[in-house]
Symmetry: C2
Subunit: 323 residues, 2 copies
């Protein structure tokens, strides 16, 4: 067993860039153990600085290759980079081809890069729950940019994408991805489109499809400033076009700063997070209250017709509030 | 506009068997309007008597024909019958063939039968929410048996099935339903299996498949009494075998009475219902609390790093508890 460490100490050591402290903190928030609250409290004052970039797309579009290329480009700028892989097909999660894995390992030994694969096991919504906490750890550890890589299908992954200040949607030619993207609601969340594998047939058609779809939408921040997602072409495996993606991310960062969109997104995200934690804790307390016989007793009275379920719920809420 | 009626009055009139009072009460609980709590309170003392029978199966197995045949058989016994159709393909919901619709209409004019199609529109989990309330109405209205017809795929429909004291799973030959049933977890919830369209090829094979699957399971009540789901064959369109189904329902009712399984199921159901209402109300109050600026204020402090989301949740729960 590793010795129990004070969360405050761990945060200080994470800020110094000690990978083991970072890993330990993420494990603590992922496992949602008794120390979670102390960790969260210790992290809070050090969060809010990292630029959070989401990277999503269907399997096969080259997400992990693109993530790796982006990490390389950001490192060249001297930026400290965190990667959260919530993609079961990601080499970070250990699920991909050997070639990808090797490509990743170059970053794995770079002490300016923190890589963490988020476990998809556990209860439903587990990722939506643990990823924001892991993000806080990387943020507090001084990452300038945190890349969150996800497959981008399914609600929990869309929740994860919603953590990003800037969301990159990756597509590849000839996969019918344009249509898929529109279906999955991914079109609405994209701040930057990247057509990867742009040396393949059909890349220009994919770009045209996207342009048409974007022209149908209208995305404005509350003050009326508009952001039109750029459409970039890359061949991530050869590093082509990756600098342009980094430039687009920076350009979008400037826009969300100027337009107030960044604050709006972060406030909305914090609201969702607080609500989710609140509901989860109420649910947990319901269980505790149930364990203390209040719920079974109320259920008995409902079955006997002495009480209707709404009044029973009132009594339970009162018990939770005082619990 | 219909005049506002006192929920207590409506319940009295429903108990007298006035179809319009029953319909009005179900609308009130379905719409979850301000009168819902008064209705629930007025219903409570008159509930718990109806025998609740769930009828589920894939589209095409003949659920609506079987429901209609069962209603006929129960009416012959002089029983008052309620039908809740939560099946979009049901003729009760207006979605089926003309032949079925005509067959249903014979019951629609019978004042010993209440038929209600539950709206599948509205928010997620809407059916799981409104169906137990509608069931209470039919129960209080003096229905001896309430049949709940559902397609039996998807979580909300499984929730609905869990309302039943006795669940009939319907299959038809040659649809690969045996395997589908096992997949969907329907095997575990079946108290009675009915192979409908038993005049078709493959009926005996379906029965054999089911027997084999049942032999793999072991279903015992807490006191060790076992119930082995019978497998019956019907041709519902010609009324063949339907009396046997009614007998099996009665036999299962006797077993759940004797074994204590009925009480166990109803208590479990009441617990789930109270918990669901509690969580829903907490969620609603979170919205109210948010409207009163507590949530946005907490979110601001989290974004500013002054507060971690767990402590923010604590503050929100305190606000909800006192709300």
């Amino acid at each position: 067993m590793a010795p129990q460490l004070d969360p405050g100490d761990l945060v200080v050591r994470a800020q110094r860039g000690e990978p083991r402290a970072v890993a330990r903190l993420i494990s603590l928030v992922e496992n949602a153990g008794p120390q979670l609250r102390d960790v969260a409290a210790a992290l809070a004052p050090h969060t809010g600085r990292a630029q959070v970039v989401g990277l999503t797309g269907s399997p096969g579009v080259g997400k992990s290759t693109s993530t790796s290329a982006l990490v390389g480009a950001l490192r060249k700028q001297g930026k400290r980079v965190g990667v959260l892989a919530v993609d079961p097909s990601s080499p970070f999660s250990g699920g991909a081809l050997l070639g990808d894995r090797v490509r990743m390992q170059e970053h794995a030994t770079d002490d300016g890069v923190f890589i963490r694969s988020m476990a998809t096991r556990g209860h439903l919504g587990g990722l939506a729950w643990s990823t924001p906490q892991a993000l806080r750890v990387l943020d507090a550890a001084g990452c300038d940019v945190v890349l969150i890589e996800t497959v981008g299908v399914g609600q929990s992954e869309i929740d994860v994408v919603s953590l990003a200040d800037t969301t990159i949607v990756l597509l590849a030619p000839g996969m019918g991805d344009g249509v898929q993207a529109a279906k999955a609601g991914i079109l609405e969340i994209a701040d930057v489109f990247v057509v990867n594998k742009a040396d393949r047939d059909g890349a220009d058609q994919t770009v045209r499809d996207l342009k048409y779809m974007i022209s149908l939408g209208d995305r404005r921040s509350p003050d009326g400033a508009a952001w039109t997602p750029p459409i970039l072409k890359t061949v991530a495996a050869r590093g082509e076009g990756v600098e342009d993606v980094v430039a687009a991310i920076d350009s979008h960062r400037d826009w969300i700063d100027r337009s107030g969109e960044r604050d709006r997104r972060r406030l909305q995200r914090a609201e969702s997070e607080i609500q989710a934690i609140t509901l989860e804790q109420v649910r947990a307390r319901l269980g505790d209250v149930g364990g203390s016989a209040a719920l079974p007793e109320l259920a008995k009275r409902v079955v006997a017709g002495e009480l209707d379920p709404y009044r029973a719920a009132d009594e339970l809420i009162a018990a939770v509030g005082s619990g």
